[in-house]
Amino acid sequence: MKIKKRTIALIFYFILLLLPIYWMLNMSLRTNADILSTFSLYPREITIANYVKIFTDSSWYSGYINSIIYVSINTLISLFTALPAAYAFSRYRFIGDSQMFFWLLTNRMAPAAVFLLPFFQLYSTFGLIDTHIAVALAHCLFNVPLAVWILEGFMSGVPREIDETAYIDGYSFPGFFVMIFMPLIRSGVGVTAFFCFMFSWVELLFARTLTTTVAKPIAAIMTRTVSATGLDWGLLSAAGILTIVPGALVIWFVRNHMAKGFAMGRV
């Protein structure tokens, strides 16, 4: 019964994984007074007041819209610049290639705290403060290198003979790239898109520094639930549950690309 054991182990892991999220869901359906006064495994009196507040108060729901806008811009920029670059790194040898490849990754290594001030100054100089594009560009700093690295890994897995055959068959570079190569690395593109989305979605420091009102992200708005009377746990949990939804949708759309991988011998 080997299969059975595997499934049980996996289900056990998922239960542990979901417990904190279940707790968040539980709290989101209760009032703050109820959460603080009684311990309860499930909400006894379900209230959707927390969700109603988020969906009706524009200062709340605009946060989601802002986040979705800059995250989408960032994911698109990251993918479209990283695809050709990753192809270059996986197929060609050129001056400074390995140095360049590693340098890209070093941009994830800077501790943000001190870099935030010059960042703010730089984006002010270009008049970009409080715009979605500013946050999208700033997040490119760590997402583009990640995209290049992940895509390069997948592209190196595709034998070079495929490229050569296609060129002999008379494909131009763009034609080959879109028609033949992209389908082969679909799984990589899916994973990359998801990771870009995810890292941009949860990042708080840059997003908070570069925005004031118009483009304020949801993660920054959520810190507002801390007030003089303490934290409004119910509202915070409801907002937390809602932050999961867009990402869950993204991974739902890319799941097939992720699961299928690529079938060899298609070309």
């Binding site: 001056i95 400074g96 390995s98 140095q99 590693f102 010059p118 100054q121 100089t125």
Partner: protein, 92 residues
């Protein structure tokens, strides 16, 4: 465009200009005579660029160690680093 906030000083300007010059020189050198990966005393097969990176990074650590462990002037560490860079580039 006002870039006063970058807080430039002469030493840092010289530092970055030197780095840029080194990069330009390395690129030109590579174009004139491309180098082949080889193996020296560093347990990796390296190109010229790799050795430059290793040299610069270890020089940074030499400076930090000097600052942290001794009270002598930093210029001694600087001379050490130059010699070390030369050794890495030649025999690394």
């Amino acid at each position: 465009m006002n870039l006063e906030w970058m807080a430039w000083t002469l030493p840092t300007a010289i530092f970055f200009i030197t780095i840029i010059c080194i990069l330009i020189a390395m690129t030109t050198w590579q174009i004139i005579s491309p180098c082949i990966k080889r193996r020296g005393f560093i347990p990796l097969s390296t190109t010229r660029g790799d050795r430059l990176f290793i040299g610069l990074l270890s020089s940074a650590y030499i400076h930090l160690a000097w600052l942290g462990l001794t009270n002598f002037t930093i210029w001694i560490a600087f001379v050490f680093s130059l010699v070390w860079m030369g050794v890495v580039m030649r025999w690394g």
